[in-house]
Every structure is written in C-alpha cells, then in structure tokens.
C-alpha cells in the first residue's frame, strides 16, 4: 500500500533542498535585511516569484534551458554527465528555486527583528560583517532560521507540477510521493492513494504544528 521508495526519495529530496536553501538563503536574507540599497525590492520580488508563478512556467524554462539544444544544458551535461530532466539533480535544482521564498522570507523577517544595537556593539569591538553574521545574527535569529528550514522542507514535499514536467516518473529517482499518488489515482488504485495521502497529510500537519508552536513559544519568551 505505502510507496516506501517514493517516500524515501521525497524525504531525501526535501532534506537536500532544505540544506541547500539554508546555505544559499541565509546570505541572501541577511543581505536583504541589512542593505539600504533601494533596488532591494526587486531582489525581494524575484525571491517571492515562485509563490505566484505557476510551476509549469518554471518547468518549461528548466526543460528548455537544461535541454540538449541550449548552451546551459550542454554545459550541465559536461559537468554532471547527464541532462537535467529525468534526474535527481534536476529535481533538486527545481525544488531549490521553487521553495526559495519559503526559506528566505522567514530568514529575512528573523534578521530584521534583531535589535541593530547588537551588531553596532560587535562593530565597536572590531568585528567584520561576516563575523557579525556568523556570531551575532545567525545565533540570535535561530528560531526564524529553523522555521524557514522546516517550511522549505515541507513545501518541497508538496511539489508536483515541476516534477511532473521534468521528472519522467522514474521509480527511486524522480517518482516523488505526490507523483506516485497521482499515478495511483489515475490507475484507480484509490486505497493506495488514500494511505499515501493520509501519510503526507499527517507529516505536513505535524511539521507545521511544530513550526507554529516554536514561533509562538519564542514570541512570548
């Protein structure tokens, strides 16, 4: 009944995407929270784009840009030895783009809510911007960072449209749980679809409950 191969793959994809987003998202968020450059609103808009853009737009660009007829796709093939469509790496890139706002926005809010006095004090002790980021901002904003990490993980679990367009439905490589449920429904295998859907529902509910619990706890404290 349960598609454990798909569950394992989905968890791996979501975990990898959340880790990459931690590495990529934190510097972007810190820069957004601290810069005074007025053009930052355009960067914020780009970060937020996946919230409103249909996944098919992203899927189309990924198919074309990473296809064998495009320089980027040819370069990707030379570096990784395979094309982006139908591969785990391709899904990872898609997921990172797709879940970007779910990581960067909570990070940014957390950095902005810090009292700038701490950074100023650190500066008077001669700390560089990188040192302030590492030793002051990140440790103090950790609950917002955790929230972003968890949300980007959860959002990747629910990714569907992009995977359907560039995945190719390969068991253990690109058949994620959401695709597996879609297949089960189309094959009229409603019992399996029900079990896997219930599993996904409970996992997502638990993750979100923990996130909100954490947020409330720290707001009160």
């Amino acid at each position: 009944m349960m598609d454990w191969v798909a569950i394992g793959l989905t968890a791996r994809l979501a975990g990898c995407a959340a880790l990459v987003l931690l590495a990529v998202g934190l510097p972007i968020a810190y820069w957004l929270a601290t810069t005074r450059w007025r053009g930052r609103i355009f960067v914020e808009a780009i970060v937020a784009l996946p919230l409103v853009l249909p996944p098919t737009v992203l899927g189309f660009y990924l198919l074309v840009a990473f296809g064998p007829r495009h320089h980027f796709g040819q370069w990707y093939e030379i570096v990784t030895g395979h094309l982006l469509p139908f591969s785990f790496g391709g899904l990872l890139i898609a997921s990172v783009i797709y879940s970007l706002p779910f990581a960067v926005q909570p990070f940014t809010v957390a950095f902005r809510s810090l009292d700038p006095a701490f950074a100023d004090i650190a500066k008077t002790f001669g700390a560089t911007r990188l040192q302030i980021f590492r030793h002051v901002a990140v440790p103090m904003a950790w609950h917002g960072i955790l929230a972003g990490f968890v949300l980007s993980f959860a959002h990747t679990l629910g990714e569907f449209g992009v995977v359907l367009m560039v995945g190719g439905n390969i068991p253990g490589v690109t058949r994620t749980l959401s695709i597996s449920i879609y297949d089960q429904v189309e094959s009229l295998n409603y019992a399996a679809a029900a079990w896997n859907s219930l599993f996904l529902l409970l996992v997502c509910f638990t993750i979100l409950s923990i996130t909100y619990l954490l947020q409330r706890h720290f707001r009160i404290a």
Partner: protein, 269 residues
C-alpha cells in the same frame, strides 16, 4: 509632492487593472451566452488529428463551440467516473468506455469504435541511429540513455509499448532507461525536445505537422502488441447528448475517417 504623484499613479494603475479584469469577464460571459459548448475528453494521441475534425464540425454547426481536453485515457476515465462534466469521451482503448457503461456513467447504447492506433519508434533528425535498419534494436544503441514511453499504468500507448518491447525481446535490457510521460503527447514531447534520446510514440503524433519534419520513425509491427482499438462513448451526465451524437457521427463519417486515415490510424470496417 512626490507622495501625491506616487499615489495618483498607483490609483490610475488600479483603475486600469480593474477595468481589464471587468472587460475580460464580460467578454467571457458574452461568449458563453451566444453559443452552445460541446466538451470532449480525448486521448492524447488525437491531439493533432482531432483539430481538422473539430473544424469540419464547426463549419456545419457554427453556433457550437467545441472544447477538447486531452489526457491519458486512464486519467480521463477516472475523471468521468467521478462525475467530470464531459459530453463525449474518445478513448485510446475501448475498454475504458466499456467500463464507464458498466458503471452507469456512460449511455449504454452509445459505444462506438472509431480507429485502431499504431506505435512507432521515433527519434529526432540529429540522432546518429539508423532506426529504419535497426528497428526495435535501435533502443539498444549505446548512445541511447533515455527512452520515452507513456505511463503503462494508465496510458494505453504505454501499455502497448511495454508489450511490444517484451514481445520483441528488448524490454529487460532497456527497462532501466525508461522515462514515463504522463500521456503519449508528453512522451512525444520528451523525445522531440531532445530530453530523451528515443521514444515509442503514437504514429498519429509522428505524422503530425509539428513532428513530421523533426525526426524519423520505424513502425512497430502490429502483431507485436495487443490491438489498440480506440473507442468512444457519450457521457451520461451530458446535458446535450444529441449534440454529442452529432459530433460522434462526424468522427465516423467518411470525412472524419479520411482525416483519421491521414493521421495513420487503421479504420474499423
């Protein structure tokens, strides 16, 4: 001063956006009032072949708007079985319409067979593989890394592709190279775009104007896979069964048959 200008610009933009929405909505309302709409659920292998038939039909019924939704037959079956508001279902496998009649979701005496589908091994022009000479063995070429087929779980063409590969003795050697399109049109798109190296697709797509100039194909012998008998049925929930019946008559008319023949279908007697 700056703030006032800004506010004015914003309110102007708001008015323009609301105006656009309004006019789009009113256009839509006007269109649905003036004409009748016939909604057809069609297997993805008809993606190009059905266009001329729809055009012919609309020449005779100029007040009817025909909307076609394409998908894998299994997907469309599941939708209709759960009450999707289609008038007519054109499946790539006649078993799906039969099952709808069994489930009382389709009109009992409306079942008809309209074509027999064929599958081909297709590859793009720039491929070095000589598919005409190699036939099914083309799938075994070392340069082939990904083979696109439709999902055999719910797409009849996917099922036929797997059956043919088994019968011709290549399935076990290539099963780890398969990528599955959601329906046969997506499988064709995978190989047309070059994302997959070779594909087993419907002949009706291979000879379509879009793909004809893009690649070459080898036809899989008909005895290598179960007959792809394509059938249709009128959906019970249809509010205009007469109109649906007229469209069915167009599909099986000499004119419709000629179009289907042009797209590579074999026609039932």
């Amino acid at each position: 001063m700056k703030a006032i200008v800004m506010r004015r610009t914003l309110s102007c933009a708001f008015v323009v956006i609301v105006g656009c929405f309004g006019s789009v909505l009113s256009l839509y309302a006007g269109e649905t009032e003036a004409v009748q709409t016939l909604t057809v659920a069609a297997a993805a292998d008809l993606k190009f072949a059905l266009d001329p038939i729809v055009a012919d039909f609309q020449k005779q019924h100029f007040n009817v708007m025909v909307r076609v939704s394409y998908g894998s037959s299994g997907n469309l079956f599941a939708q209709i079985d759960n009450g999707a508001p289609f008038d007519l279902f054109l499946s790539a496998d006649i078993d799906f319409p039969r099952k709808l009649i069994e489930n009382k979701k389709a009109v009992a005496d409306s079942l008809f067979s309209y074509a027999v589908g064929r599958i081909v091994v297709w590859l793009p022009n720039n491929s070095p593989i000589d598919v005409g000479k190699l036939g099914i063995e083309a799938l075994l070429s070392p340069s082939v890394r990904k083979i696109a087929i439709a999902n055999p779980e719910h797409a009849p063409y996917g099922r036929a592709a797997v059956a043919a590969m088994r019968k011709l003795g290549v399935y076990d050697k290539v099963s780890n190279k398969l990528v599955l399109g959601e329906n046969i049109a997506q499988a064709a798109q995978f190989v047309e775009s070059g994302a997959a190296d070779i594909g087993l697709i419907a002949l009706s797509l291979a000879v379509s104007p879009k793909m004809k100039t893009e690649g070459r194909y080898w036809e899989v012998p008909l005895d290598a896979y179960p007959r792809l008998e394509q059938g249709g049925v009128i959906v019970s929930a249809s509010k205009q069964p007469d109109l649906a019946r007229q469209f069915r008559n167009m599909v099986v008319s000499p004119q419709g048959r000629e179009t289907l023949r042009r797209y590579g279908f074999i026609l039932p007697e």
